[in-house]
């Protein structure tokens, strides 16, 4: 019996170290490097205020980003065969109340028509990435578009469910700030994680949402704006998530599991020893 209890004491100590090991290994520290071949944007949780007005804030340096290729918009006319911006980098942060997404891309010239947009699915129904246009075999859902333009210097909160349905929402919840420097645009979009507008995407930490990107190079070429309206660089759907807070209650359940397993062993060993000694 003493032998059995000694073993269980050892088990408990090792189990405790195991739990501590779990805790440290899975603490929500952001990884140090950018993700190659990104499929998602992770909005990391920060304490305090977010760099919503400063695309060059050093706070962004501590956050890893993602990069997504862009394609000319060829899905519907007016098409475009060649676009200036071939890829876009994105970083995200949130503080439990508010979120900020930094979009960064190369554009050799600063023009009034330069613009950037984020698109999100809204609600439970999936939507086609092209403005949530109508699917022929099944009903899709609407999209929420955050559109920033250099000319106005602001972001506009918009909605669409199909072509020619894009409209500015009556209630505006999105802010935007862009800075062009040395051939690079950095645009920060910010908003509350949750709003009271049913036309908006609602961000719940830990929940994956779908996001797409669009960029316009507003350079004037031969007297015409190079990219405007449907002529733009686009991505299809990728994923975005506000990273959840670490849930330490899990480790309580792990300790309970360890304790129950050890108790089960104790009962079995005792029973076997009694059975043999009888």
């Amino acid at each position: 019996m003493l032998n059995g209890l000694g073993s269980l004491r050892t088990i408990s100590i090792i189990g405790l170290f195991g739990v501590l090991g779990f805790s440290s290994a899975f603490a929500s520290e952001p990884p140090a490097s950018e993700e190659p071949g990104s499929v998602s944007v992770r909005m990391y949780q920060l304490e305090g205020s977010l760099p919503v007005d400063d695309p060059n804030s050093s706070q962004w340096d501590s956050v890893p980003g993602s990069e997504f290729n862009l394609a000319p918009q060829v899905h519907w006319p007016p098409r475009i065969q060649e676009v200036t911006v071939k890829s876009v980098k994105a970083k995200g942060v949130h503080n439990g109340q508010e979120l900020a997404i930094l979009v960064e891309y190369d554009d050799p010239t600063e023009d009034a028509g330069d613009a950037a947009a984020l698109e999100f699915m809204v609600g439970d129904k999936p939507a086609h990435f092209a403005h949530g246009q109508e699917m022929l075999q099944v009903e899709g859902g609407p999209v929420n578009i955050w559109f920033w333009k250099k000319e106005s210097g602001q972001a506009v909160d918009m909605s669409a469910k199909g072509f020619k349905t894009l409209e500015t929402q009556p209630r505006q919840d999105v802010q935007g700030k862009g800075v062009w420097q040395n051939g690079t645009w950095k645009v920060v979009f910010s908003r509350l994680l949750k709003t009271e507008d049913e036309q908006d995407v609602q961000i719940e930490p830990g929940e994956w949402k779908s996001v797409a990107f669009a960029i316009w190079d507003g350079a004037i070429v031969d007297g015409l704006v190079k990219e405007k309206g449907g002529q733009k660089a686009v991505s299809t759907w990728w994923y975005i998530r506000a990273e959840p807070s670490a849930d330490n209650s899990i480790f309580g359940w792990v300790i309970l599991g360890l304790a129950l397993a050890a108790a089960f062993e104790l009962v079995i060993v005792r029973k076997l020893r009694k059975g043999q000694s009888v």
Binding site: G15, F129, Q137, G140, W208, S235, W237, V254, L256, G257
Partner: protein, 241 residues
């Protein structure tokens, strides 16, 4: 005394090796869930056989009971018992963590690449003869409307291709149009990405709905041009019979 346990382990290992490695030499590989099911059935059979009588029960479980009770053990036996007693709670703890920890990965996408077309497109055949003139016209239309994404060489490497997810289809790949009937291509070209059913979710296809811009004649001839340019042949009803 250890005979039944070792025999049982050998039988289980044999069943696993047969299902996992030998069977796929003759037929399609079994899914892991089915292999586990067969292993569970084999284990059940071994347990039933081993517990049919008091002597067989003692032969099978006696060594296990003596090992766990620890009486009379020393040296390696003692260490092995200790290791088992330590590992079991750790395994339970790990399993608890694994089942409760939230997934860190984006949702898996189970997109069906070639979903079934609507009934109205099944069985259609190309109404235009495969003459050199029609094929040449199809290739010209392909160059104008399709090649920016699907590539001048029909290989999915058009100038716009790097930005698309999923990438444009590579028609030279035997796994694409060579597996499909012309009617299927007619549906996909005519209706585009918005024609996809639920199985095609998430709806990322940038394929235009060409019926709004091109007459059906152009679409049929583009199909001809695609097969000819990619050196592939359409799947036909005759091959399926």
């Amino acid at each position: 005394m250890k005979g039944p346990i070792i025999s049982g382990a050998v039988i289980l290992a044999g069943v696993f090796i047969f299902l996992k490695f030998l069977l796929p030499l003759f037929t399609a590989p079994l899914p892991a869930s089915l292999i586990y099911l067969y292993l569970a059935l084999a284990l059940s059979g071994i347990m039933i056989y081993g517990t049919m009588s008091a002597p067989s029960l003692e032969a099978m479980m006696g060594p296990v009971y003596r090992f766990l009770s620890g009486q009379g053990q020393s040296g390696m036996g003692h260490m092995a018992r200790l290791a088992v007693l330590v590992m079991f709670p750790l395994l339970v703890g790990w399993q608890t963590y694994s089942s409760l920890a939230p997934s860190d990965l984006p949702p898996a996408e189970n997109r069906t690449i070639h979903p079934a077309p609507p009934g109205e497109f099944v069985g259609l055949s190309n109404p235009y003869p495969k003459t050199p003139e029609n094929i040449m016209m199809g290739k010209g239309l392909y160059a104008a409307y399709c090649s920016p994404c699907h590539g001048a060489n029909f290989d999915g490497k058009g100038t716009a291709a790097p930005g698309f997810n999923p990438p444009p289809a590579d028609f030279t790949d035997p796994g694409t149009i060579a597996q499909l009937q012309e009617a299927y291509l007619f549906w996909r070209i005519k209706k585009g990405g918005v024609g996809l059913p639920v199985e095609g979710m998430p709806w990322k296809s940038a394929m235009p709905r060409w019926e709004e811009e091109l007459p059906e004649e152009f679409i049929w001839k583009i199909i001809m041009g695609e097969y000819d340019g990619a050196h592939q042949s359409p799947r036909t009803w005759e091959e399926e019979e």
